[in-house]
Symmetry: C2
Subunit: 364 residues, 2 copies
């Protein structure tokens, strides 16, 4: 049996061990259909029960009311970069506000520009994406079809602690790297989505929570797969759903509810894990330099630099020897990124903390 | 350990047991990254090796030259229904010919109509989709940007035994339910695609083989994920690839090459399996009525009717008692559909054949 490392990958990312063990146990045959989850029809009773359970778990974890539809789609966040404007701009109202706090917001705004007028309501690029704006800095207007933001910028490790205002337009959120890390007031959102492979499951499924009235904005002229309305009308079975990925989402949300005690407990744990690493950074006398401003630090992606690229490389290599993997920062930012999603155990963060302290003592 | 049934599902469908066993064995941690295949980055060395191996296997099995790019996409065949016309119609030449031999061809033609002028070059609907056309019946013209057909109509069980002519336009094929069931002359095609969940892997990945020169038809104004060129330029890493599904495709193609002896042997076996069932139909004195004309019968989906809906229901129920599942026909056609893809073992088909004979003796 291969030993497991502490895996700090930004995504696809670590999953809970009890979830992996259950997938493994059931892989050759689920009891009912006597076939693998990989082999059963997306329209079969056993799969429909799995998808309904995944949806019910999400509704329970985030208190999502019946005024919202939950969709399980393919194509990742990239497809959402297009689907959001293609559906929500509607036929006439073709202005959207984008609050840009990092790389993914910038990409989403660029893509939206193919379909309408994008107004950048705030742009953190001149400050190198180190913070989120104060509400008073955001220039979003009621004339926009929607106001878009990224709750947690995975590459820069910059996270909103509360939703920005939508100024009477519809709030849309890419929560790809932090959905389910804490409770949210979903009623503030028109649409919130997340690809699963950071905090919710494996790559290959994206969860879209959309307020029902917004489905009416989807034009019948849209490419079939790009219409939220088409997916909603078919209960996410417009075509063959990514069955296995949805099955894992069901197991991860089971784990959150039954083994982790729900999102309040999870959030407290996430804060404890993140604080442990940021404390080492703050007490390193400048050896470790955090990327994000202190009050905008991500609980999911702890991004920091060492005094040189050589030291960063040595850090990554020696950490791997100590059973900690995938710590190199994103190629556009460099340095170190420790992604500590829900499924990263406390022991992993403690091991990294101890290593960071020793590495600084040795090389600082 | 749950017993496995003989699973005749049309898709997601049966996978080879050695593949499932390997997935199970490796599920908690791949040796190199010491993490599950579900947890490693799509840009990590170990995953890139897996994707390269899947591509190399496909190239070997189908003798695909470097003049073609192989893409691993999400969104299923439904997304291809849109992507094909959105990319291949180009900016000026907006006519496409569709040869419609069943339900999926009809849907694809309807979707293409959103993006250009669709000419139905042959339509089997008035004959209830029981056959493919003779080449002389196809009214495809050189003015079309492409000529589209479905090599195997999964619902009706109607299969082309050879490609239809493209009449100097570009041949495009939806091979979702029969790619890899035999060798093909890929040089006849401009583009051929297949969602994996019938013959190649689990739901969640679609394989697109596209001739390189056609990539130039993709406009930069397309929604990002909808551009073949964007995916090709990024080596299928335009965004996070469906890593697990691609890993299974690699294992299935390994199995075809190393355990099944390649596609010629596989094709001979597929013919043997299909003949076994069609023979029972032909010798049933009309008790079993095959849907497809004899020379257009699918080797993948054996579709037939019994004298009444009651007998069909009894057939499905008694088969399930005999460890054979998912035999009900598609809801639009009724009757029985036995899908016998590559991974359906001979023993499964023999068991079904014996059951069909006994059921007729008892109820005929």
């Amino acid at each position: 049996m291969t030993q497991r490392a502490f895996n700090f990958s930004a995504g696809p990312a670590v999953l809970p061990v009890p979830v992996l063990e259950r997938v493994q146990r059931e892989l050759l045959a689920l009891p009912g259909p006597r076939a693998s989850i990989l082999e059963i029809s997306h329209r079969s009773g056993p799969f429909l029960k799995i998808m309904a359970a995944a949806e019910a778990n999400l509704r329970q974890l985030l208190s999502i009311s019946d005024s919202y539809t939950i969709l399980f789609l393919q194509g990742g966040s990239r497809l959402q970069f297009s689907m959001v404007p293609m559906n929500l701009l509607g036929e006439t109202d073709r202005i959207a506000d984008y609050v840009v706090t990092g790389s993914w917001g910038r990409q989403a705004a660029k893509e939206a520009g193919k379909f309408g007028d994008v107004r950048v309501a705030w742009d953190g690029s001149s400050e190198n994406y180190v913070r989120t704006p104060a509400n008073s800095e955001i220039d979003a207007g009621p004339s926009a079809a929607y106001t878009y933001f990224v709750s947690n910028e995975t590459i820069e490790g910059v996270q909103f602690s509360a939703e920005p205002p939508a100024n009477n337009s519809t709030l849309v959120c890419d929560a790809s790297s932090d959905l389910l890390h804490k409770r949210l007031d979903i009623s503030r959102y028109g649409l919130i989505y997340a690809c699963a492979q950071k905090n919710i499951g494996p790559a290959g499924v994206t969860i879209v929570v959309v307020r029902n009235d917004l489905l009416e904005r989807s034009s019948d002229a849209l490419p079939g797969y790009m219409s939220y309305k088409a997916h909603a009308e078919q209960g996410s079975l417009f075509n063959t759903a990514p069955t296995f990925a949805i099955y894992v989402v069901r197991l991860v949300t089971d784990w959150l509810l039954n083994e982790m005690g729900g999102l309040e407990t999870m959030h407290a744990l996430n804060r404890q894990k993140a604080d442990m690493l940021y404390e080492v950074i703050d007490e390193s006398g400048g050896f470790y330099q955090g990327h994000a401003a202190a009050d905008c630090r991500s609980l999911m992606n702890v991004v920091f630099r060492l005094p040189s690229d050589e030291l960063s490389a040595a850090f990554v290599n020696e950490a791997a020897d100590g059973n900690m993997t995938a710590l190199a920062g994103h190629r556009s930012v460099g340095g170190i990124r420790a992604s500590i999603y829900n499924a990263m155990p406390m022991a992993g963060v403690e091991t990294l903390r101890d290593f960071m302290i020793k590495f600084r003592e040795k090389r600082g």
